[in-house]
């Protein structure tokens, strides 16, 4: 879902397009009864005799877009009826912004999120007198708010959006109710829980034993897999926080990877140039985590 800033050119263009479409519909629906039917919201499409086509009304188009196959891999595995049941129970699309906190440790988890391919969420823990440290990365393969599925309502870590992207969101209480009748979702979440625990376990060992350059390579590959893109938008400060190192450590590691022509970075954009080369530079943890997710 795209939104335009109030007063912006994008908003002006959007309003102009909406006005033009409304005028177009009025031209087609020339009698009062048809206009009343459209205004009532109980029709989906209008036929255009000039083009010989049927045109979906905006509300129907939006509803179909919401009901279209999700890019989140957990939701994509569900039978269509089960997915439709979740939509009917309140699963809704949402756009999240960089740095948006979805839950804090010790807080009630009010919403659960299924990120789409455009979104990454870090699960982060903070140690007093030290920085933050990412313990897991959640993207389109997973779900944020997993404790809710196990009957735990309180978060133990911070979940923060690493960039702007979309997700499907649902109130935790309604999700719990729906989960009881969604057997395919239960099975998918059991598998995801296993894979997430494995990721956290491997990440703990990785943070302890592996060099920053190898860890950075691992992280970039994991992010790229989840975004389904070779372009990752991040700053060195963010990466330093996520990897639990100083900013200069990330700069040195990124420069080394860039010198080997594995990545290119500028102004917060990191592009993976040589995926196989980056895999060779990453520690074993990338492949181990990937294998577990692939098997799950």
């Amino acid at each position: 879902m795209t939104t335009a800033c109030p007063g912006s050119k994008a908003e002006a263009d959007h309003l102009e397009a909406e006005t033009a479409f409304a005028a177009f519909i009025r031209r087609l629906a020339h009698d009062a009864a048809t206009l009343r039917a459209i205004k009532s919201g109980k029709v989906d499409a209008i036929l255009d005799p000039a083009s010989g086509r049927a045109i979906l009304l905006p509300e129907a188009r939006e509803a179909l877009r919401r009901g279209a196959a999700p890019t989140n891999q957990i939701l994509a595995t569900l039978p269509r009826e089960e997915y439709q049941r979740l939509l009917a129970a309140g699963l809704e699309p949402v756009t999240l912004a960089l740095g948006e906190v979805l839950h804090e440790p010790g807080e009630l988890i009010r919403q659960i999120y299924f990120p789409n391919e455009s979104l990454l969420v870090s699960l982060v823990t903070r140690i007093q007198n030290h920085g933050a440290l990412e313990i897991a990365l959640v993207g389109s393969e997973g779900m944020v708010g997993l404790p809710v599925a196990q009957g735990i309502g309180t978060a133990s870590v911070r979940a923060v959006a690493q960039g702007t992207g979309t997700a499907l969101r649902m109130e935790a209480a309604r999700f719990c109710e729906a989960l009881g009748t969604c057997l395919a979702l239960q099975r998918a979440l059991h598998r995801y829980t296993h894979a997430l625990i494995a990721q956290i376990t491997q990440t703990a060992a990785c943070n302890c034993f592996h060099q920053v350059e190898a860890r950075l390579a691992r992280w970039l590959l994991m992010a790229s897999d989840r975004l389904q893109s070779n372009l990752i938008r991040f700053t060195h400060e963010w990466l330093a926080d996520l990897l639990g190192v100083r900013r200069v450590g990330v700069t040195v590691a990124a420069s080394a990877l860039q010198q080997q022509r594995l990545i290119q970075y500028s102004r917060g954009n990191i592009t993976i140039l040589d995926r196989e080369g980056l895999k060779a530079s990453a520690c074993e943890c990338y492949q181990k985590i990937k294998d577990i997710f692939d098997r799950a």
């Binding site: 048809t34 499409a45 036929l47 979906l56």
Partner: protein, 108 residues
């Protein structure tokens, strides 16, 4: 989507009394899905299988819909018995649909 539901009773009198309808829908759009569900419920309760319903997707057959005078969907046309009738919308107003189909006041 183009679906026909035909129940052919063995009794000739029942065949003659069969209601023939055509419902124009827009793929899986919400009001269209709702209209199919509402109409099927009405048919089940009031026509007990003595009906013939054709569902036409206007994305597949827009020219046919235009030729039949359809402007918006969902749109239900009662073809027989006469008088013919047309109802626009998701058919959620049950009494209006029953009135248009000539079924109001008839016990199911």
């Amino acid at each position: 989507m183009r679906r026909k539901q035909i129940v052919q009773p063995s009794d000739p009198a029942a065949v003659a009394a069969m209601m023939v309808m055509r419902l124009y829908v827009a793929g899986g759009a919400p009001n269209s899905v709702q209209a199919i569900a509402n109409l099927e419920a009405i048919c089940q309760q009031h026509l007990k299988g003595h009906y013939q319903l054709e569902i036409v997707d206007v994305f597949e057959q827009p020219l046919r819909a235009l030729a039949d005078g359809v402007i918006v969907t969902p749109s239900l046309t009662k073809l027989s018995p006469l008088p013919a009738a047309q109802i626009v919308g998701n058919l959620s107003d049950r009494s209006k649909v029953l009135l248009a189909l000539g079924l109001q006041g008839k016990t199911p």
